[in-house]
Symmetry: D3
Subunit: 310 residues, 6 copies
């Protein structure tokens, strides 16, 4: 099995069955090294749903993807075997059961010693992914979290688990190490002043949009945290971006990052041991000309390059 994207110069990019980056669609236990899969679920969202359609849409726009990273001067698809391994089973109308299925699916991916990227889904789907990783690696992960929101919020409508609470649970359940956790793109308004209590108490580093822009970008990039050999996970909520770059998302917040700033942040991150990542909260029904999906694809592409060859 050759793990190469279908060439756009041979097969027009609008043709063919849609898989992530036009890569082969293989079984979960095939001999790929990095698997990309979808988690089509938006049952944890508080405002605009639609993220259930994101895996299909990102597959579609990934037809536009190319393989050679101009800054890194390398073709990742020639370095590691990457494949589309389909969609994780979900129950569209039940979060608890969806959580079980996600944890099981990711557990199986990990049981084959694979690394992975997923396309959500709303942000509530990240929690069971982290649970599976925690089990696999036996200790809390280092965690890079792009978002407009802290996602450390309390229960809503009497429900503990929703897309604005996953990060709190991840810390409270010991899935991630708050000392090795950074949140990027955060901005207000918040629901209340106590929204920041959690991150302060746990010592989580919060990088706001102001932090990114108060100095020239190249200077800011030097202040990014460094990571050690701790297994590290990246969760990329598309709403870290400004609504002009990512209109198609569940809870957009003006004053966000640009796709360019995010590209530069990804390129500046040094992560010795990335084990997985996700792109979440793309809502195609609210997107325009697929620019949000394209921004998500771009993040996926950048993240891919953070995986090390073994």
């Amino acid at each position: 099995m050759e793990y190469k994207p279908l060439s756009g110069r041979e097969f027009p990019r609008f043709s063919a069955i849609k898989t992530f980056f036009r890569l082969p669609y293989v079984a979960i236990d095939a001999d790929y090294e990095v698997g990309i899969f979808g988690i089509p679920f938006d049952g944890g969202v508080s405002y605009r749903p639609g993220a259930r359609f994101a895996p299909a849409k990102v597959r579609e726009v990934s037809s536009l993807g190319r393989g050679f990273h101009m800054t890194r001067q390398e073709n990742f698809f020639e370095k590691l075997k990457v494949a589309d391994i389909g969609d994780c089973p979900t129950v569209p109308i039940d979060m608890a059961q969806t959580y079980e299925r996600i944890e099981k699916f990711v557990g199986e991916v990990l049981s084959h010693n694979k690394r992975f990227l997923s396309v959500g889904g709303d942000h509530s789907t990240t929690l069971p992914v982290l649970r599976a990783l925690r089990k696999k690696y036996g200790k809390p992960l280092a965690f890079i979290h792009f978002d407009a929101h802290l996602d450390t919020y309390p229960a809503a409508w009497g429900q503990e688990y929703h897309h604005g609470a996953f990060a709190r649970h991840a810390v409270e359940e010991g899935l991630v190490d708050p000392k090795k956790m950074v949140q990027i793109g955060i901005r207000g308004p918040l629901a209340g002043g106590d929204d920041l209590d959690f991150v302060r108490k746990h010592g989580i580093r919060v990088i706001t949009v102001d932090d990114v822009r108060d100095v020239p970008l190249n200077d800011f990039l030097k202040t990014l945290p460094t990571f050690d050999e701790t297994p590290t996970y990246i969760s990329y909520d598309i709403d870290n971006l400004d609504p002009s770059c990512a209109p198609g998302t569940g809870t957009p917040v003006p004053g966000g990052l640009t796709t360019y700033e995010v590209q530069r942040i990804f390129r500046a991150l040094k992560i010795p041991h990335l084990v997985g990542g996700d792109v979440v909260e793309i809502s195609p029904p609210f997107d325009q000309s697929d620019i949000t999906a394209l921004a998500g694809l771009d993040a996926l592409f950048e993240m891919l390059h953070l995986f090390k060859t073994k």
Copy 2:
């Protein structure tokens, strides 16, 4: 308190706080006779979500509504006191708890001896409404069900309750009387041949689009069932309409009814004892120029005229 729509000739229709038909927004125990409320919930939907935004959108387009029914030659708002009583509480991410809140809310409306119309929400929300009505009236209801789908389907993804199974549960729980039940607008394809077993077994009358169109419309209207003094409920799934008339819905099916046919059906129905009704499955994110919402509003307006003055 005067229960009159705000006049469009005094206050432009695009202005003012949006309530159903520009009626007063009053408390659940005020002295209105027919209450209109929203049930913003789409957690039971199998394909396109978005119905959570329907109550807000129907309120908005109802600014275009007028009060005098040209065929009936009467202004319903001068006959009965109609009011907007707000939205039923829901839990966007939990169906079981939402069911409880709906049943409780409708129960409270009924405890004040009110009749009502609601704007869903996906079709799963009709079940708890029927449960509350069953309790109130102490016997199964007569039931008029507009839909492209039978909604008598089995569990999906291991879940008993979803927007395609509410009618089955309504029958099985004894909430409605299958002998006094009619389904209008039904058409294929179906998932399987056994999809019809349920309606056959229970003797539910199914009126397909073919049935409506095989004879001139006026002739068809004469074949509509008659209703007796049994408390009667109407559930109007917007997808009974053709996608050209109602693109903004969760699971559109080509070959459906037109808004005109539906108007004529509503005007031909004789219902001595209507106790409530709903319009469900309008999904504004998938609508175009609000025509689906307008079609839903029109059904709401027609249904209103089926309530008797006491």
Copy 3:
């Protein structure tokens, strides 16, 4: 000067400067016989504006127009000299002055003994057109009025003139003869029961959608009124059509006519002396895939064939 549409088989339909039907754009006093012009004004509209963009949009979609009428078996552009004579001057923010400019412009067209079609604009623009025609012809016109609404409504917000009152003024000012007037496509709801007083009092014939559909279409067509040598004008409000056919309009009403029914009505009308006509209330910002504009273009095309060669 040759009055022929630019051929789509020579010049692709998406190319070239946009004029109505790709006809020559000529001066108001050129030697054409039927002039088509725009009246870009929507200052009289009560709900959705945007008709100001209709002349430009109808010009654009008229690139798709073809010249040979399949039912009539004739090419109108070979029978009469038709031309685009540009847009009537308007004052976007002042109705009274716009009325003056419209009346003056139409007066000038008529002073050259031309017949014409115009593309509005909201329906308030028809009144000054009728005033100019009344002056020219010295007597009230016969009047065919396609619309969902009667447009005989009273003042709104203290204003006499608005898009829902033009027909009342036309009658009251003696511009049209109510005995030779027919309104087609009318349907409810109305604001009040007295909305019908005006048409009853003046004996205006109202053809509702029910009237059109209560018998087979071919039978209905035989009941259309006949017209005599009285100068006759047609005003075609696109909202006579159902929202599925014409979503892009100011005040859509479900349950309307189809484009097919309207084609058949136009083909059945016998008008010995048509002097002008208009298509109004197309609002491109609310249109979808230009289908409303295309429906308006189609009406324009049908109307054109009602002009007699002299």
Copy 4:
């Protein structure tokens, strides 16, 4: 290999890799009986392009498809082995080479003695399909052609081959038998009176929209032509439908058929020897809420049932 659609009750319809009807994606020489493939090409279109995206979009919406035909009371997927065999290779910017590749691809499908349905693509793509069929079957085909346009038009811009000329070439090249050919949905306007010369000369039966509607639908259906054992092909141009049903197409024409009428026509056709068919001219960039794609899917589903078990 089991040729069964993925169940929507097990795997949510918005999940999984998108294939036609969620069927298996297999090689061209696998043991399926009816293959469905895409022809993503819009290089022959005269106005709105975009049909290149139709195969991907129809695959996506076919997730909504169900298998049991309510009128026919059968599940076609249980009768014949149907599969997605991917997309035919095309050259997006060269029609001549695309023609070669289409003819070769279809030839290969036929060499394995398969029957097939394809999703275009603009209507120019039907010609090479017919060429391959003519070669295979050694004689002209019977031909059912749904369209607003005759597609028998002369060269445009000096080019013989374009999406409005394929039917003329099919007749002139002897690919189809004009005596066994019917065109359904035709309506004007035409470019010129001589547009009808070709069909008259060749005795092709033209069924206009008027023909369909001049009598009750059930009566019309009895007048449909019958077909003999001649290998028969169906080409379904989505623009036979009214723009309200199919806004997303290259050259929409008001006054078209409804999806319901088309369903009934398909169900009334008796075709002893259907060898293939296509759905063409769906342009997703101009579609609204995917209703055009859904209408195309519906036609695909109906056509499928016209294949006989051997």
Copy 5:
């Protein structure tokens, strides 16, 4: 009466009657301190209309608003009593009368010694607001004006008052003090070189986009003018933003500010005596995914924090 936004953690943000920030809707003479109201009028606009729908749309998206300002570390809604006081009466088709009604309405708000924010409406609506303020405070106001355009333009189409002339009239009528006036976001092209004569002659400070970006943002912010105890008004035309951030506006101009820059400007302004402000020129029919409305809401939120507690 408690002036607190409805909590999104109790009542889902997509539910409930839509008021600004989910605040109580109260009478004009209630005991609130800052009233927010709509001015739904777009009769003064020169290109794209639609701002009449802005108050309703901003109310809708304000459901997404939260209350705690992350930079200021305060919850404004806990400091001052803020309420929705409905919409100012307007006459959609008459500017002069609308001016009277606006001036009267604002006069009444001021008669109760309230401060306020309004959501227009096109920019022509700011003039009568300033007239009412001038009367109340007895002297010209200090004036902060965000805009792409100077709005000091001469009459158009013979009309003195339109959305591009309000600032000129405000100066000429002595409503604002040009020496205490600043225009932010200005950029070309202009209609003519003399467009700048007015601001030069009156010594109005004009801050162009170049001015904002020629130095690092933090440095620019230090150059903002300071304000004294003069009653100060802010008029925020959404088209000061770049079309990527605010596509839904009447006359967009490329090369504009970003929402982030505007946030920083608002946070840097020191205004001892803010008496009112507005957000104008949001045109929902031209918006995409509500990002323009969200940007307007964000400006509203920032402006709110500039009101002092007394």
Copy 6:
């Protein structure tokens, strides 16, 4: 003949026949100095088509254009005679013949010693324009190329000529001088590492987005290349912009330039001998609220000011 834009203060901007900048539409041999024309062709595009509609759309939005350049403090339309000279003939379905017609049309423009700007069309249309210029001027041109892509790519689908290869052909055919060529806005990803071989080999200067942003903008502008008296051409592919600024294009790439940066680059360029330019790859069917078309218009306006008075 007066070459002045129609005034927006006399004739509302939404009215009148649409020409570029509301300039007169004149014959190719009239006495204008700079001609603007359309090249409606998208037959060379690899992904999203639609650029065939760009000339019509840019004409439409150019109604919003104004004439006085605020930074340059001059009204170009008063300095040089600018006119709309219509659209170049194209063959929508044949690239080779379209190339011939473009070269012939541009040749004729040049034969009258005119300078020009064109609105494409996809980027494949620039090649025949350069061929005509090369013939006219007898030597390779200096060439400024804005783009996300290098467009020096090899054949695709066996075809030499497509929208991603024009720059390679321009160099290989000696139409432009690679030493006097600069590409601005370039960014990855690329198809392969060898994509850069061509520009390296020919010594073409490539300015990436990183290059533009690694220093303050004013510093970057000083590093722009200078041009000598060599006839110079500018080709502006709208996809050099970020998708947030230009969603409506054929192959969008995140991380692009902003309209503001491009304005500043245009204003900083010193070009003694500009002979022509184009704006290409605007695809209106994929645009949102016309912001891409507006960005293209803005580039057209800036380019116009680079023409010298003779």
